[in-house]
């Protein structure tokens, strides 16, 4: 004779404290994710990814895998709701952010109409470095797309729409700006000629391979451990991962390296500016990640810096 105490869940708006939904006969082992699905039934627009549920309006958000009976609530649980706004899945996010620059750059490379002057439409540059730059840029974004689809595993399911629009505008506008100069009829090739281009290209390729290796390593880490098992990344047999001896986020290090070498290869100031801004943003992320690792793991290597070996 099983005696299951059913729970009652009332969902209140976090701001107005109005009751939005009352769920009765909720199983004690129901997860927050399941509650979100139940809530969704009453509010068609508010799919689960858009819901932010908390026990305290000013507290931490509840996770989808939290179980109702394990939470500090009585048999009538009061949960506060906040609308996170329209959400987009991560894969879509990356597709939007990376397909844009990919195609936009090609528009400039092929000198589509209305960009440069009329007589330059569909002409091509006499400089090999311009074609090389196009190949590098294109490969960079193809690699990113492949990683987004096949390699990355994401801890959160979605991202708010507003953020994506902002990110896309930034990536798309910047790639248009730098593509404009590299593919311009008045483009000036690098001062030190082929030597400069070739050295920069070599470093670019190494950094791209390095970045890819790190992404694979991070991904394997998540695969082995699963979301609950927390381990920090280590150098592996792959020489590119040996950067883990020196930095917490070698993927960012390699990314900066790739863009820096691209700047040198094209000798283009807008590219250098993009690299600089990317460096600042990635340093912020790397420092955050480094802090998280240091706090969480007592045996975290002292030698490691966030992004630049021995320096930053």
């Amino acid at each position: 004779m099983s005696r299951t105490t059913f729970f009652e869940v009332e969902v209140l708006d976090g701001r107005t404290r109005q009751q939005l939904c009352f769920l009765d006969k909720v199983e004690p082992h129901a997860t927050i994710g399941e509650i979100k699905s139940l809530f969704h039934k009453s509010y068609q627009q508010l799919y689960p990814a858009r819901q932010d549920l908390k026990l305290d309006p000013k507290g931490k958000s509840l996770r989808d895998d939290d179980v109702l009976q394990n939470l500090p609530v009585g048999t009538t649980a009061t949960i506060y709701f906040k609308d996170l706004g329209p959400q987009v899945g991560w894969t879509m996010v990356f597709l939007a952010e990376y397909l844009g620059p990919l195609f936009i750059y090609l528009l400039f490379y092929f000198r589509a109409p209305y960009i440069y002057s009329h007589q330059d439409v569909f002409t091509s540059s006499p400089y090999s470095v311009v074609t090389l730059a196009c190949a590098c840029h294109t490969c960079h974004y193809i690699k990113r797309l492949i990683e987004a689809i096949f390699v990355h595993r994401f801890s959160h399911g979605t991202m708010p729409l507003r953020t994506i629009v902002r990110n896309c505008v930034y990536y798309w506008a910047f790639s248009a700006w730098l593509a404009f100069y590299i593919n311009h009829p008045l483009y000036t090739p690098p001062s030190y000629g082929d030597m400069q281009v070739n050295y920069a290209l070599a470093i670019f390729v190494l950094c791209e391979l390095g970045n890819f290796s790190i992404h694979v390593a991070l991904n394997n880490l998540k695969a082995e451990g699963g979301p609950k098992c927390r381990r920090f990344p280590h150098p592996t047999k792959n020489p590119f991962t040996w950067l883990f001896f020196f930095v917490s986020c070698p993927n960012y290090t390699y990314e900066v390296g790739a863009w820096a070498s691209f700047s040198v290869m094209t000798q283009c100031l807008p590219v250098a500016l993009f690299t600089f801004l990317a460096f600042i943003q990635m340093t912020i992320w790397a420092k955050g990640k480094h802090k998280t690792y240091s706090r969480e793991f007592k045996d975290y290597p002292q030698l490691r810096m966030p992004i630049i070996p021995l320096l930053l």
Partner: protein, 239 residues
């Protein structure tokens, strides 16, 4: 018969008015008081300079030259405010200071031909009155002796001074455009070694356009602040 859920305690502990927030320490307060007194004095000097020059010349024309140096000094000095110690939004203050400094140096100073324009006098007067009131407001606030008149002035004069200043600024930038285009001031053209170009003329036009979304936001922000600050006090006084 169920126990109340733990997440429903309704103590409004974080809804207390921001006045109770801990202010800066004694040393920082002293520094801030000195800073604000100096700035108030500086802008008073500019105000006096304008009046005296007007009385001496008998016309509004060309008054810029009589206060050029103190204007540059004290407006640029306001960059110290962007450090974040002063109790106002860093983003809004920073933005305002940067745009003022931009107008002072990159437009008025750089394009000599606009220095005689009446629009310059328009924004300089607006800035002068605004800053005198604003810095005295900060000074008195820091000393915890804020006369209602100063608070009222700070949150009321802007209603006229903001549009006045913006008009002066926009007219000045507009006046500078032909000279910038003719001389190619601060502009870089292709081809060059670093494959970069910058057209200051276009940049100035974009700056003017940016006033359209930005100015209303700042203006309405101040109006909301006005409602909050002045109406709140009145409620307090009538109780």
């Amino acid at each position: 018969m169920s126990a109340p859920a733990m997440g429903t305690t309704k103590t409004a502990h974080s809804d207390v008015a921001p006045k109770k927030k801990r202010g800066p320490g004694a040393l920082a307060t002293a520094y801030l008081v000195i800073y604000n007194v100096v700035m108030t004095a500086g802008w008073l000097v500019i105000a006096v300079g304008l009046v005296r020059a007007y009385l001496a010349r008998g016309s509004y024309h060309g008054l810029y030259y009589s206060i050029e140096k103190p204007l540059k000094f004290f407006q640029t000095g306001a960059l110290l405010e962007v450090s974040g110690i002063v109790p106002s939004s860093v983003v809004l203050t920073g933005f305002q200071v940067l745009s003022r400094v931009f107008l002072t140096w990159a437009v008025t100073h750089s394009v000599r031909e606009v220095q005689n324009e009446d629009s310059v006098l328009l924004f300089v007067s607006a800035w002068t009155i605004t800053e005198i009131i604003r810095y005295s407001f900060y000074t008195f606030s820091l000393l915890n002796h804020l006369p209602y008149l100063v608070k009222w002035a700070r949150y009321t004069f802007f209603l006229v001074l903001y549009p006045m200043g913006v008009t002066g600024e926009l007219l000045t930038v507009y006046a500078a455009l032909p000279y910038v285009q003719k001389t190619g001031l601060y502009s870089v053209t292709l081809p060059n070694k670093y494959n970069f170009s910058f057209d200051y003329h276009t940049f100035l036009i974009l700056t003017m356009v940016s006033y359209i979304p930005l100015f209303p936001q700042l203006y309405f922000h101040m109006m909301r602040q006005r409602k909050k600050v002045l109406c709140h006090v009145e409620e307090y006084k009538t109780e």
